[in-house]
């Protein structure tokens, strides 16, 4: 009797489990008979996409947007990329993917080529050279950049006042000079700690602006060889190292903006997202484009997120319609005025009266004009996330640390790193077609 009861119980449990499994999940078909469909988007932080999703669903009442929302991860966009890789490898491919380092995917042939379509968009003229570079691989356009950004030189007005300067530096030489003055004057922060001229925080995506301005070059034009061991690059690394050696900058230690927020740093290369925390910390600050180097040029890394359509998608037109929603002025304006984002997405809008009025009312017009200016001189930061031989990023980051933290000879370190990187890239380029 007990035996049969037990068997029945086991069977019931199995049925229950199976039922739970089926009830728990399930992928809905992406196309219904009544002309409705589902657009699947893999992104990070749906809050930045909600307005556009709502607008899309309003324009397409029969459509349904399914969001795969992945956390940002410990490194920018890392978890999102991982999830997309996982989805592709298991055949569960979404329509649209938000990606930070799209070129990797473009190169692998899993993304739709949108060159002919995007070139015809109205918004096309609003893309800066930097944005286009991010959207392109091998002269073909695969994605559209949303949320572009670049670092600029944030400066602490109080600290500059203490050494009798009202204006931020326009050249790297001036910056080093200010460093010497601050050091000589022994400036102290309100909390009594030492004040530095600058910090090299945020990883090479942030600090390469100093590398470039001082004449450094990451890669050859075709990205086949690295140039971090060229004499000009070594010179740039030496400039950076001297700032640390002289005590004008502390050794980078991953604490990012903490020194800046504590009034202990005069200059910080960081993006517009730092405005609110700086205000909250009560800093008296402003921002200007990165100072130029001896070549008279300045560059900041072009950052941003791209929206790309996976080749396997059957909703290309709808996907592009969704992507274009990001360039609608009304949505951009509400996002900025409601504090959801800090920047417009289309460059022309920096000069738009509505935006200008808003910034004037917030007392930070100059700040955003600096950002606009910086968008005009950006570079693609290959070594941040190389689309060939990804290990190169760790090798470069590690070498940079040895230069700025361990204070080893840049020439020796970079030659070693360049050797490994060149070898790796050559190997990878041989394998792939």
């Amino acid at each position: 009797m007990i035996k049969t009861r037990m068997v029945a119980l086991v069977l019931a449990l199995m049925l229950l489990t199976w039922g739970v499994l089926w009830a728990g999940g399930g992928q809905e078909p992406t196309a219904n008979e009544d002309g409705g469909f589902t657009l699947r988007i893999a992104l990070s932080g749906v809050g930045q996409f909600e307005a556009q999703i709502a607008a899309f669903e309003k324009l397409n009442p029969k459509a349904n947007v399914e969001v795969i929302d992945v956390p940002w991860g410990v490194e920018a966009g890392r978890d999102l990329r991982e999830r997309q890789l996982l989805m592709i490898s298991s055949g569960d491919i979404p329509d649209i993917g938000a990606m930070i380092w799209g070129k990797e995917f473009f190169r692998e042939g899993v993304i739709m080529d949108l060159t002919d379509d995007i070139k015809k968009w109205e918004e096309f003229d609003g893309f800066t050279a930097g944005m286009l570079e991010r959207m392109t691989y091998n002269n073909r356009i695969y994605a559209a950049t949303i949320y572009p950004c670049a670092v600029m030189l944030h400066y602490n007005k109080d600290i500059l006042a203490q050494i009798g300067r009202a204006e931020p530096p326009k050249t790297m030489a001036e910056l080093a000079d200010i460093g010497a003055k601050i050091d000589a004057a022994g400036v102290r922060a309100p909390n009594g700690n030492k004040v530095y001229a600058m910090v090299f925080e945020g990883g090479n995506w942030h600090t390469d602006c100093f590398f470039w301005a001082n004449g450094g070059e990451q890669m050859t034009k075709d990205y086949s060889k690295t140039l971090i061991d060229s004499p000009e690059s070594i010179g740039a690394f030496r400039w950076m190292q001297n700032m640390v050696k002289n005590g004008y900058a502390p050794k980078p230690d991953g604490t990012y903006d903490q020194l800046w927020l504590n009034n202990q740093v005069a200059f910080f290369a960081v993006g517009a997202w730092e405005e609110k925390p700086s205000r909250d910390a009560g800093l008296n600050f402003g921002a200007v484009p990165i100072p130029v180097g001896q070549t008279g040029k300045n560059y900041a890394s072009m950052g941003g997120t791209e929206l790309a359509i996976f080749k396997a998608s059957t909703h290309k037109q709808e996907a592009m319609e969704f992507m274009r929603l990001f360039y609608r002025k009304d949505l951009q304006l509400t996002a900025v005025t409601e504090g959801k984002t800090t920047l417009p997405i289309s460059k022309p809008l920096f000069d738009d009266p509505d935006f200008q009025d808003y910034w004037t009312s917030q007392n930070n017009l100059d700040y955003y004009m600096a950002q606009k200016k910086q968008w005009e001189s950006t570079k693609y930061n290959f070594l941040e996330a190389p689309f060939v031989y990804p290990e190169a990023s760790k090798i470069y980051a590690s070498a940079l640390e040895r230069v700025l933290v361990k204070l080893e000879d840049p020439e020796k370190i970079m030659k070693e790193a360049a050797e490994v990187i060149n070898k790796g890239i050559a190997q990878k380029m041989n394998v792939k077609k």
């Binding site: 009797m1 035996k3 037990m6 068997v7 086991v10 410990v74 890392r78 990329r81 991982e82 890789l85 996982l86 592709i88 490898s89 995917f105 692998e108 042939g109 899993v110 700690n193 502390p250 050794k251 980078p252 230690d253 991953g254 604490t255 903490q258 020194l259 504590n262 202990q264 031989y389 990804p390 290990e391 990023s393 760790k394 590690s398 070498a399 640390e401 040895r402 933290v405 361990k406």
Partner: protein, 319 residues
């Protein structure tokens, strides 16, 4: 039904129950009981085996299979024979991360065992506020690694961290915690000890409470003082716990990944990068699944060897 059972009971009365009696009894009692046991065992064991096979052994086998392939998630795997293994033996980074991980393990485990043993003996002897102290020390085990990592990262901030500020007050200079390989590893070790101390303390406490008081009596009669009692009675008596703790600790430390990720990110310049960190970077960042699988196999071999060595050594010691 009842008749049958009393019949079996009657048979049993003549036999004395023994420790191994169950199996024999089942055989004696007859085929019905045997089936009953078998059914029970099967119903419990079958899903378990199925689970471990599906969720552990299948992925492992898949990983091992991929060692001989070049797979990057976006294209089907291509066969490359022993290339990954060859690369493994010539990779300088592999050497470095294995050394890093093993160093952290070799330093942390004995330190942790000694510290938690000392603390547990102290708590064992404590008569005042024992519960409170016990709970507080254990509570640190319940924080999550992410929270612990973030907290320690801020605390060890060379410029602004609490630790350096405190050292400054004491007159010792600031320590370059996260910018120096040695100190970064020290910080990582401290993080591990902070988190595990309470857990191992409780395990040792349990062992201590289970030591037969008569052994202490006997030692006292022989004239042993407290310290001698500790070394000649306590330690041998809790040896099984020590072995257990040591094996669990070694396995955990060799698998360090998220524990260090937030604190140092593998820096400075890869001096605290662990095996799993390198493996995940290869698998996910570089999309080199075959090579990453090679490394995971190597890690498993190391863990297996470490456990085996520890077991053999302790067996040798007790003989």
């Amino acid at each position: 039904m009842e008749n049958r059972n009393s019949q079996f009971a009657g048979d049993l009365i003549e036999k004395k129950p023994t420790v191994h009696g169950m199996a024999r009894r089942s055989a004696i009692v007859g085929s019905r009981m045997l089936n009953h046991d078998h059914l029970f065992i099967f119903v419990v064991m079958a899903p378990m085996v199925l689970f471990f096979a599906t969720f552990f052994y299948y992925p492992i086998l898949k990983n091992i299979y991929l060692i001989f392939f070049d797979y990057d998630y976006l294209h089907p795997p291509t066969y490359i024979g022993l290339a990954n293994l060859e690369r493994f033996f010539h990779d300088p980074v592999v050497l470095k991360v294995f050394l890093n991980t093993i160093t952290v393990t070799i330093v942390s485990v004995p330190l942790l065992i000694v510290l938690s043993l000392v603390v547990s003996v102290g708590v064992y002897r404590l008569r005042i506020a024992q519960t409170a102290i016990r709970s507080i020390i254990f509570s640190t085990f319940l924080t999550t690694w992410i929270v612990a990592g973030i907290t320690f990262k801020f605390l060890f901030n060379p410029e602004l961290g609490f630790v350096n500020a405190f050292l400054h007050r004491l007159g010792i200079g600031a320590v370059p915690w996260l910018t120096d390989p040695f100190w970064a590893m020290a910080a990582a070790i401290m993080l591990g000890i902070w988190k595990f101390l309470g857990y191992f303390m409780v395990i040792f406490l349990a062992a201590l409470y289970n030591v037969d008081p008569q052994l202490y009596e006997a030692a006292k009669i022989d004239g042993a003082n407290s310290l001698q009692q500790f070394f000649y009675v306590t330690i041998p008596a809790i040896k099984p716990a020590m072995v257990f703790v040591s094996i669990v600790a070694v396995i955990n430390y060799l698998r360090f990944y998220q524990q260090i990720l937030i604190l140092t990110g593998g820096g400075p310049y890869r001096s605290t990068e662990t095996i799993l960190m390198y493996m995940f970077d290869l698998g996910i960042k570089s999309r080199d699944v075959g090579y990453a699988s090679t490394i995971s196999l190597a890690l498993f071999v190391v863990i297996f060897l470490a456990s085996q060595i520890q077991i053999r050594v302790t067996k040798a010691y007790s003989n």
